[in-house]
């Protein structure tokens, strides 16, 4: 083998390792995003249940729970933007130049807006139809998060050849768990079941993505 080819091989090998490491970082950023949601759901649920047990006036209890979820929402949104800007930065290096990244982002944003709109409307309709307790909240959250994840997967599928199935799995699991949650009697248990369903689904997706990232780093897949 000539010296030139040997050097070329070494450089190609080193750069391929770098590319694998960047892919690993990109998938791990997605995994962290799901993990954030999972932990937030569990912690928020536990604190809001504790607030419920404190014996506060209905007005104080409502305000405290609202403030809690607004704080968690703000923290999660901040983490989301930090992780998604890192994902976008890495995607610029790893994906084909012709990838319309702005259009992908816009499609996903639109998908989430439509899902939340549909989820909230369905929750409102469910409340008007006589569903009580956590029912309307479960309908709104499961539909919004389920449809949002499925639409995210669908928009990625449209633009990229190789995509991870996790968003679709999360979406279908959340939609499938809705009848189960609604069939549970007792408001507190129903609320717990809703939080656990979201948290466990997201934790599963996070773990699956972390394993996938590890496989990419070790050279098992591209």
């Amino acid at each position: 083998m000539t010296e030139g080819l040997k050097n070329l091989k070494e450089i190609a090998k080193t750069l391929e390792s770098v590319r694998r490491y960047l892919s690993y970082q990109r998938i791990m950023a997605s995994s962290r995003l799901y993990a954030w949601w999972s932990v937030a759901c569990l912690v928020g649920g536990a604190i809001s249940l504790t607030i419920g047990e404190l014996g506060l006036s209905p007005r104080a209890e409502g305000t405290s729970i609202l403030l809690l979820w607004v704080t968690i929402g703000t923290l999660i949104t901040r983490a989301y933007f930090s992780e998604s800007s890192r994902i976008a930065e890495l995607a610029r290096t790893l994906l084909e130049e012709k990838t319309p990244s702005e259009r992908v982002g816009l499609t996903q944003g639109l998908g989430w807006a439509v899902s939340f709109g549909l989820g909230c409307s369905a929750g409102w309709v469910a409340a008007r139809a006589g569903l009580r307790g956590t029912g309307p909240l479960a309908v709104a959250l499961c539909l919004a998060l389920g449809l949002g994840n499925i639409l995210t997967w669908a928009s990625l599928k449209r633009y990229f050849e190789r995509i991870t199935p996790e968003p679709a799995v999360v979406g279908v699991s959340l939609l499938a768990s809705l009848p189960l949650i609604l069939s549970i009697k007792g408001e507190v248990i129903q609320y717990l079941a809703l939080l656990l369903a979201i948290s466990l689904t997201y934790a599963g997706a996070s773990a699956s993505l972390a394993f996938r990232a590890r496989r990419v780093l070790l050279g098992g897949s591209k």
Binding site: L5, K13, L94
Partner: protein, 142 residues
Amino acid sequence: MGASKSEELEGVVREFLEAMGEGPLSHPSRLAIMLILVMRGRTTFSELQQILGLTPGNLGSHLEKLEREGYVEKFRCLRGLRYLTCYRSTRRGSLALGRVLRSASNLWEILGAAESAGRAPPKEAEGAVNRSWGSSTSCRRL
């Protein structure tokens, strides 16, 4: 192995040499700077100096060249209680590095497959390197 396979291999080698040889990334230090900026995100001047072991003057001139070409951007960032000079890769820089990494990946697919099978690289690879050697500006650096 047919002529088309040989041509394909030559194309992959040429694409890699061209991606490496064109523009500011033809210099190993500048390629390393871009790799660090993409891997770490924003990085201070002193962190870059520490990682690469370059003198401030040398590092400064490479960063200046990358900045002039629009591959990196300089900005002030808060680290602890101090404002420091930070650098990050621009969209143009990330795309250029992406071209290098993708072409390296394509090349490694051919050369690495031969290595993992315990074979010598295909004969065409040797020929392709020799033929592309003179036509690419990066060849002298390899």
